[in-house]
């Protein structure tokens, strides 16, 4: 019975925290968020070459480091803490997991080494203008002919869709609905017939794109019709990853609130000495520690790939979404007027908390999903 990280895992956390602290100070977040691509190419390269981060949980036989979702969770937590602006979540938590879940051995050998090295930026395009997170959100159909497969239609809310070299796309066979008839495909970012439009987002630290497919030639990834189980698992794994990232942000806003409450003096004493502020911070600590427990357990379940994963993924996504958003909101409240300014970092975390809450389904969505999964 050991619910704690090992010494090596703690060492990994320290190394990554130091690296990210240097590469992603607030000034860099603000600089990159104003750009269309939203990341720094040389930092992305260093992440791959110096730290092997993109390949962290990819098996060694496919060019990765062979670690697990537990180590990946640690890295994501540290990234969330500093609001790292990079296509890491899209490449590693969405695309790489999709390929691992669905691709043939040959396809994994072909596609994963480039991702692991940082050479290939990738993403998963599954959502469409309806904004639904489940199988019913997939309306795009594929055509198959003697020449292969083509895709036509629109994908929306695609993380780093405009940056990706490789796009994993989910589409359905004509005439199917729901969880039937879904297949995965890969498409190069510069494919003929593909129009990519970078979108302006409220959370400028996470870039999204609209992808319009007009008879784009696509390669089948894995077996035809392999779709729903693999997509569901990929989305559960992504939810676990996002929970880890949210925990890092939640801890950061708690720290910001407490630090401010200790130094801001009003009515002759630090505002943290007043119970209203003190109790807010105490409630935030309860949420942050509980969010950690949920995210860490979920990361373990993902690493074990056990039958608990679907329930625990929804559990973590629901709790961590609410916790991060609530803490980010209280962080603004505790800071008073300055917490509302563009110049202060509070709004950056608040907006990341909101976009992370929404992405892959918010707490309400996941509570209902969990209710179904536990048989209520």
């Amino acid at each position: 019975m050991n619910f704690a990280f090992s010494e090596e895992q703690e060492a990994l956390r320290e190394t990554v925290a130091q690296f990210l602290g240097g590469k992603s100070p607030s000034s860099e977040v603000r600089r990159l968020m104003e750009t269309t691509e939203g990341y720094d190419e040389s930092v992305w390269k260093q992440m791959g070459e110096q730290m092997g981060l993109q390949g962290l949980h990819i098996p060694e036989e496919y060019g990765g480091q062979g670690y697990t979702f537990v180590e990946l969770g640690i890295v994501l937590e540290e990234m969330g803490k500093v609001l790292l602006c990079a296509p890491y979540f899209a490449t590693v938590c969405l695309a790489a997991n999709a390929i691992l879940n669905v691709g043939s051995d040959a396809q994994k050998k072909d596609l994963l080494p480039g991702i692991a090295s940082g050479e290939t930026i990738a993403t998963l395009a599954f959502t469409e203008p309806s904004g639904k997170w489940g199988a019913d959100g997939i309306g795009m159909t594929y055509e198959s002919s003697g020449d292969g497969f083509t895709l036509s239609g629109e994908k929306m809310f695609v993380l780093d869709g405009h940056n990706a070299d490789l796009i994993v796309v989910v589409a359905r066979k004509s005439g199917t609905s729901g969880t039937e008839g879904l297949s995965f495909f890969t498409v190069r970012g510069d494919a003929d017939g593909l129009t990519r439009t970078a979108l302006e987002t409220m959370d400028m630290t996470r870039k999204q794109a609209k992808l319009e497919f007009s008879g784009v030639k696509a390669d089948l990834l894995g077996e035809e019709g392999s779709g729903w189980d693999a997509l569901s698992k990929t989305l559960d794994q992504a939810a676990v990853c996002l929970s880890s990232e949210m925990v890092g942000g939640a801890q950061q806003v708690l720290d910001m609130s407490v630090d401010y409450a200790k130094v801001r003096v009003q009515f002759g004493r630090p505002i943290g000495s007043f119970q209203a502020i003190k109790h807010k911070c105490a409630d935030m600590l309860l949420e942050v520690e509980s969010a950690k427990s949920a995210a860490y357990y979920a990361a373990w379940a993902a690493a074990e790939d056990n039958e608990e994963l679907p329930v625990v993924a929804s559990l973590a996504k629901a709790y961590c979404s609410d916790a991060y958003f609530h803490c980010a909101a209280e962080n603004i409240q505790i800071h008073g007027g300055i917490g509302f300014t563009w110049e202060h970092d509070a709004h950056l975390y608040f907006k990341r908390a909101k976009s992370s809450e929404t992405y892959l389904g918010d707490a309400t969505y996941h509570r209902e999903l969990l209710a179904q999964r536990i048989g209520i």
């Binding site: 019975m1 050991n2 619910f3 704690a4 990280f5 090992s6 537990v70 407490v258 409450a261 200790k262 004493r269 630090p270 943290g272 000495s273 007043f274 119970q275 502020i277 003190k278 109790h279 911070c281 105490a282 409630d283 600590l285 309860l286 520690e289 509980s290 950690k292 427990s293 949920a294 860490y296 357990y297 373990w300 625990v312 559990l315 629901a318 709790y319 309400t364 509570r367 209902e368 969990l370 209710a371 536990i374 209520i376």
Partner: protein, 393 residues
Amino acid sequence: MDFRYTPQEEAFRDEVRTWLEEHLVGEFTEVGPAAGPADDRAWDVRVAWEGQLGEGGWIGLGWPKEVGGRGCSVIEEVIFNEEYAKAGAPGRVSFFGEGLLGPTIVALGTPEQKQRFLPGILKATEFWCQGYSEPNAGSDLGGVQTRAVLDGDEWVINGQKIWTTYAHHADWIFAVVRTDPEAPKHKGISYLLVPLDQEGVEVRGIRTMVGTSEFNEVFFTDARTAKDNVVGDVNDGWKVSMATLGFERGTAFLSQQIAFENELNDLIVAAQKHGATDDPVTRQRLADAYIKLKIMRYNGTRMLTAMARQGTVGPEASIGKLYWSTWHRRLGELEMEVLGAAAEIVGPDYGLDAFQTAFLSSRAETIYAGASEIQRNVIGERVLGLPREPAAG
């Protein structure tokens, strides 16, 4: 990270399970877990059961062997509590002795006190209650006014304790009393052990909103106890009383977890029967209760790991009481919601069912053993380092 148990721990689990299977028979099977920490139904049967536990060597598991305990690890204690809860064994009656006073004496008592008082706890022949709160000293324990004065080789005690669980059943009380009224508040307090069966002690039940009288007032009028029945030094009782509170954060929480899981399962079954699970809002609330209960377990396991490995705990430990009491209070409200109009109908003599009892008794859970407001102060000040409020005057 690993959530499996070692072979030795599994062997211990088998031992516990086997003993329970063999001994949880007859009238003992009709009692079940306590509805709350002050539930005293089927008291005599539970006392007899406690005697069985004592004979089997299951009391004081975590105590050192030198004082008659079993020297079990924290994990083994948890395993025992888990199996105990799974078996639906009778609610324990020895909490105040085994969980609070015993460990306090083990840590801070004299050899004579260990010899005199520990065996009675281990064999379940002597029962204890806790004399802390007074009408003017609840959250502010330092404000105790019950007075003890040395008269030859006896303490003479005058005053009153309140909210004393099981005082009407206990043999002894451990009481925090004022022995030096001139000293600053926290420095004139002593930790006394007082026998209840004497003329100078009167126990009066307090009827709570649950309709039962599980809490008591204890009046001391020239009550007496031997001079040596003070734990720690005279006037150094504050330290001892805080040590006792530290033990309250024991290993019982994971068995409480199982009781909560059973309760939530019962609620889900009831909700399904009533058709309440068709309502999306009810589904959200049930799912939320489930999620937060699981997280309660994860938080507990993280804390346990820290306790077992380092002997110390991190910030995740300070949230325990605040977390579970808030959760259970909310669950009680959900139970009433699911019952709907039928929630208002009770049996003869204010006979409440399990859900109605949980709904009402959970209102005290955010108050006793450290009110939620105090918990938040402690978290804010001791864990987060926020400044204290300036003292009065």
